[in-house]
């Protein structure tokens, strides 16, 4: 149903809090979690508010919270603050080398101002089935660290994080603190492929692959696809099929077919169910091919 909007202004009214520490953020949530949304880059949330698809009473601006920003390597694990911008992440030391698919998904992230304003946590918390960074984070077995105002912390594997379009397992009183990525093994290769109408677009289909190549076989492989189901999803059938196999034309074709059978896309304004089904397989195939090459190349993993 047609709905009146006015994108020149923000019609809904709300309060904005601007805490400067994680503790303060949690305190804000403790007082009033209901109807509160965390505002990071705003490139998605403010659009949703402008289009009046969500009307929070209160926004907590988390872009001035040092604990939520920046990147560090701890015990080989890459820890990315949830309010780290997509562009900072893409250019992070070692990210492109070790987590190539993730860097590529950041590169493909809409436009440069949106990469600068948008954050990794925001991209995940908005829980779009087409979220660009999600498939890559799935592929790297990423997890998110959530903190609640009660003081508890929990870590949720990324592939258990999304529940449906716009929905995650996060509670209203929680804040995403960081995204954690395990160390990549020797012989790892990864790649991200996105198909849109134009380059700067919400994807019609996206795919990320991370594999470990050992003795010219796939010793380990994780594949995820975006925009082909209610949430970003793993392509388990293809993963299982590829384990222990060599990547060649036949295995690529078989893997693509397996992906086609696993995905459950819909027809919308951006593409059709049929197209997405087929192209999900193509995207995975292309990502697999690139990841396989990179795994051998060794200069990128």
């Amino acid at each position: 149903m047609y709905q009146t909007t006015n994108t020149r202004i923000i019609v809904p009214e709300f309060d904005v809090r601007q805490p400067t520490s994680l503790e303060a953020v949690l305190r804000e949530l403790e007082h009033n979690a209901k109807g509160t949304r965390l505002l990071a880059g705003g490139t998605d949330l403010l659009v949703q508010i402008k289009l009046e698809r969500t009307q929070p009473a209160r926004l907590i601006d988390i872009t001035r919270v040092p604990e939520l920003m920046g990147m560090a390597v701890k015990d080989g694990m890459l820890i990315v603050g949830a309010a780290t911008s997509i562009r900072t992440l893409a250019n992070g030391v070692g990210v492109r080398e070790r987590y190539t698919a993730l860097a590529e998904s950041c590169d493909a992230f809409s436009t440069v101002p949106v990469m600068i304003m948008g954050t990794i946590g925001g991209n995940l918390c908005n829980a779009s089935p087409a979220a660009d960074t999600a498939p890559a984070l799935f592929a790297f077995d990423g997890a998110v660290e959530l903190a609640s105002c009660e003081g508890s912390r929990r870590t949720v594997p990324l592939d258990e994080f999304f529940v449906g379009p716009g929905r995650t397992v996060m509670r209203e009183d929680e804040v995403m603190v960081a995204v954690r990525l395990p160390k990549t093994a020797a012989g790892t290769g990864s790649a991200f492929v996105k198909i849109g109408r134009v380059a700067a677009d919400i994807s019609k289909v996206s795919a990320a692959v991370k594999l470990v190549r050992k003795d010219d076989r796939v010793s380990e492989c994780r594949i995820a696809v975006g925009a082909v189901a209610a949430t970003p999803m793993r392509a388990y059938t293809a993963e299982q099929y590829l384990a222990g196999r060599r990547i060649d034309a036949k295995t690529l074709a078989d893997a693509a077919r397996a992906v086609e059978e696993d995905v459950k896309p819909i027809t919308d304004v951006r593409s059709t169910k049929e197209y997405r089904t087929h192209v999900a397989g193509v995207a995975v195939k292309d990502a697999l091919g690139a990841a396989w090459q990179r795994a051998r190349g060794g200069e990128r993993q």
Partner: protein
């Protein structure tokens, strides 16, 4: 070829005069105008595709302090918002506000309030009860027997005229005898095509500011392609004498046809200003704008008969056009499709049947090319196919059949016929073919790899202006006026209401004026004007700005020059015929002198000062001009694409674009017209379609640019693969030999892409946009939906 031996200003790249304001952010557009005490206006829009307003209650909005406007508050004057057509061809079917909404997003009521936020609150406080009516969301539904009427009657030639079957207008145009023609043909080919409607996506959404004065006069700043037409229509609606309405000429953030009419928010804003007695500003949102206008949806069936040697002998075209909720220019649009079609190739026998249908969708209006992109799509794809059937190179074959030098040409339709006097097509096709590597193009259907390359070619034109007959039978009004004035220091004011949409029209005309009078360009100013201080100019449309508007200004400049020389001859005591004026960059002045007689010399500044100090008076001229021709501004496209057969994604690798715009006045900006045409044209060919939900009549994009995608900087070819060439022609009827360029620059795009994709895949696409989805579907079935039955109708007799 008739050319000037030496041009001082024309053909040089210069910093456009409005450029400094544009690069520093200080140029004002309608949406930037602020007037003291102004209130913000907002428009309440229909959520229904078709509904009668049973009741409307504005009391809650008024209680918030807003001033409200409903159909009861505005004059019940039926009008057509585009007044370029001569009155006998105007179909009036709309009111400022009506008691019936005919498309989702149509204005239902309006408010003005001190802040945007309050205006928005007030809008939402208006209570409307709708009686929802059945909506016809495609032509097939609208044309069904017994389909509910979108308009019961319209005002036509002074009479309320019933509309039957939702058919707004039909046209039948015949030349020769097609029965005889087809009987003489050795082969006949018939194909069906469809071009989706697209959104203009001009950068600036429509805006308007109206300031009323206590004496009842109003000042208006509006996004418009014609300040005078806007003024005339406001006068018609609000019953004011023209002198009490002053419409300001102001920069416009792109139009591509979207503001050829007086935009629907303009009279609403005026109504609010009059009712509230305050200045009111309405700056529409992108979502409102996307519901406001789009290109016509066109379905065309074309049947062509040709001899074994390729000579075309007969053509029959049937066109169905979806107008949307209002008939802004259906009659003219049907006519130009015929005109563009028959002017592409020599066709002794033709029949054209056009039908324009109302639907409950966004009203269509002019968009760059206006019928030519669609007519060219159909014709150039079929001609490519005929060339293949005949085993001939499409370039060579088309050159034997096209309308060129010395041929008769219609352009804008059957009432406008003229002889082509300048033609750069052979030159452009030769150079384009060479730059794109035409001879090395693949053989269609022979490639097997995943990525397949193809080169496609199409040629087209746009008529420079409308060029109507002078006495009876004119469909369109087509004249320009201009004022040129010599200032007291020797500088020149160029004063014209003609709009520059960004292509550099006024910059070009300033060059024509500078060239003619003989002053440096820096001494010509483009005046900031309005309707009260200018003479009439129809509209910047139909690629007429430089050709027709420029010709009027040139006429005024000639008149000023004659007066200058007359005065100078008195002062210098020498016959005016022996004097010349030339620009001196060194003096920064025009210099009047007699070649070979050095003492007889003065600067234009000296002359002007003398006239001023001694009270001889002002030198100025006002002229108007009606061009008698509308010469073809030819454009040629060669595009090279790469098709990913696994994803259906099409990439433009290279393009060679050629323009015959006669004398090139602003080379850099003219090249920009071509590259802009390519970018927009490629968007229409590959991804863009304005789509409505078949149940609700809502836009699939919901009016948001995220899903109304246009091409970005990444989808255009690299600079080294982008070739731009201009023909070395001179149009004898144009100012300094110039023709138009802007609209023409998009016209071959749809056909060139379809032909290039055919060259890559061996599959013909006759529906645009040719999306990745369509390409994959076609590849998987190895045939193209809907066009396959037509192929069987190919007769080889």
């Amino acid at each position: 070829m008739q050319t000037r031996t030496k041009l001082n200003t024309i053909g040089r790249n210069t910093h456009r005069k409005d450029g400094i304001g544009k690069v520093t952010g200080t140029e004002q557009y309608a949406s930037d105008v602020s007037v003291p005490r102004a209130w913000y206006g907002g428009v309440l829009r229909s959520p229904h595709a078709h509904a009668r307003i049973a009741s409307i209650d504005t009391s809650a909005a008024e209680a918030l302090g807003a001033v409200c406007l409903t159909f009861a508050d505005v004059p019940r004057v039926k009008y057509n918002e585009r007044t370029n057509c001569a009155p006998p061809h105007l179909y009036r079917d709309r009111y400022v506000l009506d008691d019936t909404a005919r498309h989702v997003g149509e204005a239902v009521a309006a408010v003005a309030a001190p802040t945007r936020a309050l205006a928005e609150k007030a809008l939402r406080a208006i209570k409307v009860e709708y009686e929802v009516l059945p909506a016809m969301l495609c032509a097939a539904d609208a044309l069904k027997d017994g389909a509910p009427k979108i308009h019961e009657t319209i005002l036509y030639r002074g009479k309320e005229t019933p509309i039957e079957h939702n058919v707004a207008v039909t046209r039948l145009i015949e030349v020769g005898d097609i029965e005889k023609g087809f009987a003489e043909a050795d082969s006949i080919i018939e194909r069906e095509f469809e071009a989706a409607p697209v959104y203009h996506a001009q950068m600036e959404t429509k805006s308007v500011v109206c300031k009323p004065a206590v004496d009842g006069s109003i000042t208006v700043w509006a996004t418009t392609q014609s300040i005078h037409n806007t003024r005339q229509l406001l006068a018609e609606i609000y019953g004011l004498p023209l002198h009490k309405i002053n419409v300001k000429k102001i920069a416009i953030g792109g139009t591509f046809g979207s503001s050829i009419q007086m935009n629907s928010v303009v009279p609403i804003c005026v109504g609010l200003a009059i009712k509230s007695g305050r200045p009111v500003k309405i700056a529409t949102t992108r979502e409102e704008d996307m519901y406001d206008h789009c290109r016509y949806q066109v379905r065309i069936t074309l049947k062509l008969g040709f001899k074994a040697d390729g000579t075309l002998v007969a053509g029959h075209m049937k066109t169905t056009v979806e107008l949307g909720a209002h008939n802004t220019q259906g009659y003219h649009f049907l006519g130009v499709i015929a005109g563009f079609w028959v002017s592409l190739y020599k066709l002794p026998n033709m029949k054209y049947e056009g039908t324009a249908v109302y639907t409950n969708r966004t009203p269509s209006c002019a968009m760059q090319g206006f019928g030519a992109p669609q007519a060219t799509f159909v014709t150039e794809v079929i001609m490519d196919e005929i060339a293949e059937l005949l085993g001939r190179d499409p370039v060579e074959y088309k050159l034997t059949q096209y309308r060129g030098l010395g041929d008769t040409f219609w352009g804008q339709g059957p009432t406008v016929k003229s002889i082509i006097l300048s033609d750069g097509v052979p030159e452009l096709l030769e150079v384009g073919a060479k730059k794109i590597g035409w001879d090395g193009r693949p053989v269609p259907g022979t490639q097997t790899g995943r990525f397949r390359r193809g080169i496609g070619m199409a040629r087209s034109f746009h008529c420079s202006g409308v060029g109507q007959p002078r006495k009876t039978g004119a469909e369109m009004i087509d004249y320009s006026g201009a004022i040129v004035k010599l200032n007291e220091d020797g500088s020149i004011d160029y004063i014209q209401s003609l709009m520059d949409h960004g292509g550099g029209t006024c910059e070009a005309i300033a060059k024509l004026v500078a060239e003619e009078i003989g002053v440096p360009l820096s001494m010509v100013g483009i005046s900031d004007v309005d309707t009260n201080t200018t003479v009439y100019d129809i509209t910047t449309h139909a690629t007429r700005g430089v050709f027709a508007g420029g010709a009027a200004a040139l006429k005024a400049a000639k008149s000023v020059k004659a007066k200058i020389l007359d005065y100078a001859s008195q002062l210098l005591d020498i016959m005016s015929e022996s004097l010349v004026i030339e620009p001196s960059e060194e003096l920064g002045q025009g210099v009047i002198y007699c070649p070979g007689y050095p003492e007889k010399r003065m600067t234009l500044g000296e002359l002007a000062k003398y006239l001023h100090v001694n009270s001889w008076g002002t030198i100025a001229a006002v002229e108007s001009l009606h061009p008698v021709t509308a010469p073809p501004a030819y454009v040629t496209y060669f595009v090279e694409v790469e098709v990913d057969t696994e994803t259906g994604v099409v990439k433009t690798l290279a393009a060679a674009l050629g323009s015959d715009c006669g004398t090139v006045v602003n080379p850099g900006l003219a090249a920009g017209q071509l590259t802009g045409g390519l970018s927009k044209g490629a968007g229409c060919a590959l991804i863009e379609a304005h789509q409505w939900d078949r149940q609700t009549g809502e836009l699939a994009s919901k009016g948001f640019w995220v899903d109304g995608k246009t091409l970005s900087i990444l989808e255009t070819p690299l600079l080294e693969n982008l070739h731009i060439d201009f023909a070395h022609t001179y149009e004898p009827t144009g100012p300094f030999g110039a023709k138009g360029i802007g609209e023409a620059s998009i016209n071959p795009a749809l056909a060139a892409y379809s032909n290039a994709i055919y060259n890559a895949l061996g599959i013909r696409f006759r529906e645009v946009p040719i999306t990745a989805e369509k390409i994959l579907a076609a590849l998987s079935t190895k045939k193209v939906r809907r066009t396959q039955p037509a192929q069987r109708e190919l007769v080889n007799s």
